[in-house]
């Protein structure tokens, strides 16, 4: 049933045609089309599936986490200069050191796609929204840039675009003066459904070893659900009851 969402979406053929027929024109119009499609998709999606990630921190080295960040940058066309306080960071490398034991680990942090996202609650215009399939996004057309969502997010997942942007990619339209965050590679999810692999996961998964596992949290038979049943997973700031769709193992 979870494929029902996919059947409502534009056919890959049409997408291929658009790209193939007029690459230059597509580059110009694609951001608009993509947004329109995302909007359409949001209304025709159902809540059969709830997409999430399971991140196995024990399987991630520092280099792996760096690879996640680079992959996301390539996929969505953002850059963050080291030391910049204003550059956007859709995903970041976090280093944790246990205060008692000194044990260190590295993990990627991004939007956790909460079931009850505070950013959606506080957004005055409704630009911050959650799709029926659980992906939390920003509607770039009605974001007024008030940054209240950034005040409300417990995970520091969101960034404000402080400067004029160049070299944007069609799959990730961005705009100065608005807020953005991880989209869970929504363009891949809309294309591939349950088989989607977000860019960060693609960068670190090798063969059977899936350090970042994408899947449907609502489907008890999905790999992510089975792994969660077997090994459990940590919800960050579980005390807040937000039920994030991104879970961690090894914390």
């Amino acid at each position: 049933m979870k494929n029902a969402a996919e059947t409502e979406l534009p056919q890959p053929a049409r997408r291929g045609f658009l790209k193939g027929a007029a690459a230059a024109a597509a580059t110009l119009v694609a951001p608009g089309i993509f947004l329109y499609r995302t909007g359409q998709a949001a209304t025709s999606l159902d809540n059969e599936a709830r997409w999430g990630l399971l991140i196995d921190t024990n399987a991630l080295s520092e280099a792996d986490v760096d690879a996640c960040v680079s992959a996301c940058q390539r996929e969505h066309g953002w850059r963050a200069e080291p030391g910049s306080k204003t550059d956007a960071q859709w995903i970041r490398k976090v280093k944790l050191t246990d205060q008692e034991t000194g044990h260190q680990k590295f993990l990627p942090m991004m939007c956790l796609h909460c079931e009850s996202p505070p950013c959606v609650d506080v957004c005055p215009t409704g630009a911050s929204f959650k799709r029926a399939d659980g992906i939390v996004l920003v509607n770039k057309h009605i974001c007024i840039g008030c940054r209240y969502c950034m005040m409300a997010c417990p995970y520091k997942a969101r960034s404000f675009i402080h400067e004029t942007l160049k070299d944007q990619l069609p799959v990730a339209p961005r705009g100065k003066g608005t807020v953005e965050s991880c989209t869970l590679c929504v363009h891949r999810v809309d294309r591939d459904g349950a088989n989607a692999v977000p860019a960060c996961a693609e960068a670190v998964n090798r063969g059977e070893r899936k350090a970042i596992l994408f899947g449907d949290l609502n489907d008890p038979q999905s790999e992510i659900s089975r792994r969660l049943q077997e090994l459990g997973g940590t919800r960050l700031r579980a005390d807040m009851g937000l039920n994030p769709g991104v879970r961690y193992q090894g914390l």
Binding site: K85, Q99, P124, C146, R147, K156, F160
Partner: protein, 397 residues
């Protein structure tokens, strides 16, 4: 006696008045220039960043919005609580509250990442957002207080001014509840996440609004050489004392409540002991200059008749207000989020460290511009409408 009060426009032709207007207009232009530069270049020219997302413009804006609601108090005392002694100042109180609110809203709007999307903000509402509610509360406030002012000024309509005054009073309480709740509802941050912020903002509004009102009252009366009997100032002085003491009380309760919970000790230590600029601002500017010194000035028996001490007390209350709001808004964000309890957290996105913020000239210009816009609006309206009483004479006992 109050019924016989005569009102008139400010008529002064003094060069001081015109110089003040020109300075204020220049301030507005400076504000527009700052906002324009931030809009064209992007917010990276401000000191705000992805850690401190609200900065100096918001300190100015929230000061003005909070003071706006408090400035209406004098009118409410007359209309709702039937204190006739305050009636002559009811019109001024209403017009000042509108002027302050407009200046504050202008700052908030111009600081948006997309100020051109005002129409979006006015047409798309997420009713779960306290911010969306505030947009309605602020617009409604201007309309209601303007209607209330008209009912007070139109002789045939005066019997309606009492219910309008009641509506405006209730509305302003809800409005400031909304302003405080912008922060109070932020459950993710230890610095906020308390219902206490709503009533605390209300009591702050009482003090801040009254301080601004007293200063502008004394200024406009002196510019226009109108009679201002000390008895009126004494009454306002005592009111300011009560309000300032109440703010102090709420600050004490706020911090005691936070201190009781072990999980908040880190945040409390940050504000009260080792937060650098925030700790300095708290003890020196907010508590010392903003609470204790004005209280001393207000209640020192030998200074009761001194208008200079009252002016100084008002200025100190306003300075303390800015410090308090800076600590709440900027300090509250600077304290790091505790996402991974028990771990030392490091990242290239400033996790686990105190957020750094150095206000830039541009954002100061924007905030300052909003402040001067409020004062300019108030002084211009006083010139074109009969707002001010001709005299506040000694009252017949």
């Amino acid at each position: 006696m109050a019924a016989a009060t005569q009102y008139s426009e400010i008529k002064t032709r003094s060069s001081g008045y015109w110089a003040l207007l020109i300075l204020l207009a220049a301030g507005v232009l400076i504000g527009i220039a700052g906002a324009h530069h931030m809009d064209v270049e992007g917010h990276h020219v401000s000191g705000m960043n992805n850690q401190i997302v609200w900065g100096l413009p918001h300190v100015f804006a929230i000061f003005l919005i909070v003071a706006a609601s408090g400035a209406l108090n004098i009118a409410s005392l007359a209309s709702v609580f039937a204190k006739q002694a305050y009636k002559p100042l009811a019109r001024f109180s209403a017009i000042l509250s509108i002027a302050l609110l407009v200046g504050g809203l202008a700052i908030l709007l111009l600081d948006l990442g997309r100020p051109d999307r005002l129409i979006v903000a006015m047409t798309y509402y997420n009713f779960k957002s306290i911010f969306a509610w505030n947009i309605i509360l602020y617009s409604g406030f201007v309309v209601i207080v303007a209607a209330y002012l008209w009912l007070m000024m139109e002789r045939r309509m005066q019997r309606w001014s009492k219910p309008a005054g009641l509506l405006a009073f209730v509305w302003r309480l809800v409005l400031t509840t909304g302003t405080g709740s912008i922060f109070g509802f932020l459950v993710a941050r230890e610095s906020y996440d308390t219902a206490l912020l709503a009533p605390m903002f209300i009591i702050m509004s009482f003090a801040f609004g009254l301080a601004v009102l007293i200063l502008l009252l004394m200024l406009s009366f002196s510019l226009d050489r109108r009679e201002l009997d000390p008895s009126h100032l004494l009454r306002l002085r005592r009111l300011l004392g009560i309000f300032t003491a109440s703010v102090f009380y709420f600050v004490v309760v706020f911090h005691l409540t936070k201190l009781y919970g072990t999980q908040n000790h880190g945040f409390e230590a940050f504000i009260l002991m080792d937060g650098g600029i925030y700790t300095f601002l708290f003890w020196f500017a907010q508590i010392g200059l903003g609470n204790l010194l004005p209280l001393a000035l207000i209640y020192t028996p030998s200074l009761q008749q001194s208008s200079k001490s009252l002016v100084l007390a008002c200025l100190l209350v306003i300075a303390g207000a800015f410090a308090q709001l800076y600590i709440i808004i900027v300090g509250g964000q600077a304290y790091p989020l505790n996402i991974f309890p028990g771990y030392i957290v490091e990242s290239g996105f400033y996790d686990g460290v105190v957020g750094e913020y150095a206000p830039s000239l541009w954002e100061f210009m924007l905030g300052f511009g909003g402040l001067t816009a409020s004062l300019l609006i108030a002084l211009l309206v006083l010139r074109v409408l009969p707002i001010m009483p001709n005299a506040l004479s000694a009252e017949a006992q």
